[in-house]
Subunit: 203 residues, 2 copies
């Protein structure tokens, strides 16, 4: 259809492939931008600003925004962070969530995914070899596996544990149990049995 | 939080205000772009291409993509389109929908909204004065009001009808009734009563 020219068609196609967007929502987003030229210009500016500074931290795989040739993220560049403890996460969004909680003072290691037989992702496809090497060279004392409580997440925990065992480093996973604010009668059986098995003595 | 630098913060805030997106989906969209630099570059390219050509048709208010100082849209620039019939729509997305059906061969007039007492939108805030002027100068014979079957849409139809009456132009609205594929027992009462009132004799 000549009504939608090729550049707009390309924009619509790309927007429609972004997570959470489909063809219809891409059309709404595009129209809202096209009808406010200042919003379109602002988005171009914002993307350019981010792209100019963006890099991947060469230590941990986190996003780095110092725009240098050897990018280092905020966490790895912070001398106050404990270098002896590594928290292994699937993606950058997990770091953001953990930093919001503000209780972790060590450093991170971003796997960039989890091992998944179903999706054909092997241990070498995520940054597990880099983790093993880093634990050795950085003299890490503890590794906390903060991966999702899914089958793939737990498989990945097992694989990492097996590979780190020979190095004599302490490996732990996040506690499993009731989330804060949960009602017992709404919990699924899996969570309930884990919460029961991991019950904590109070008296 | 220093972890999310100002440019990214600005990008997240803007993405979160786009229609259909919120803070969380904006974060997912941004991360999917940041983790694939080629996708980020492609989006920048697509936006720049569209922005370079974008204009608003000075006749009908449709988007125009010829990048000229006096933008004219595909429909108005097409000499095969009937100049005697104007289809009045609320927005550009409506033109896209009508063009997909492929049955309308006249031209369009984009109001850029509907009159709404609740939202404080008066007849002069949408392009109704331009429509009245256009009907006079372009010697339009028929105006089809293709506005939503909402209270505001129908109020706007009435206002336009009142203003066009003195000019002796034929004014019609879209038929109301059952949508194609609808089951009678799922129709709301409003649609059913309109469908009954507008019943068509077949024998």
């Amino acid at each position: 259809m000549a009504l939608i020219p090729l550049p707009l068609e390309r924009l619509l196609r790309q927007l429609g492939k972004l997570p959470g967007l489909g063809p219809r929502s891409a059309q709404r987003v595009a129209l809202s931008l096209l009808q406010k030229p200042e919003a379109l210009a602002e988005l171009q500016r914002n993307l350019a600003d981010v792209a100019a500074q963006l890099g991947i931290c060469e230590h941990c795989g986190n996003l780095a925004f110092n725009g240098r040739a050897a990018p280092v993220c905020e966490v790895c560049a912070n001398p106050a962070r404990n270098t002896g403890v590594l928290c292994v996460v699937e993606g950058v969004a997990d770091i953001w969530a953990l930093e919001r909680s503000g209780v972790f003072t060590g450093r991170y290691h971003v796997l960039g995914g989890v091992v998944s037989a179903l999706n054909g992702v092997g241990p070498e496809d995520v940054r597990i070899p880099q983790l093993v090497k880093r634990v050795r060279t950085d003299e890490v004392q503890e590794v906390i596996l903060a991966l999702g409580a899914s089958v793939d997440g737990q498989t990945t925990c097992q694989i990492i544990t097996d590979r780190l065992m020979p190095q004599g480093v302490a490996v732990s996973t996040l506690a499993k149990g009731m989330p804060v604010g949960a009602a017992v009668d709404y919990l699924d059986e899996g969570t309930l049995s884990l919460a029961l098995a991991g019950r904590q003595r109070v008296a």
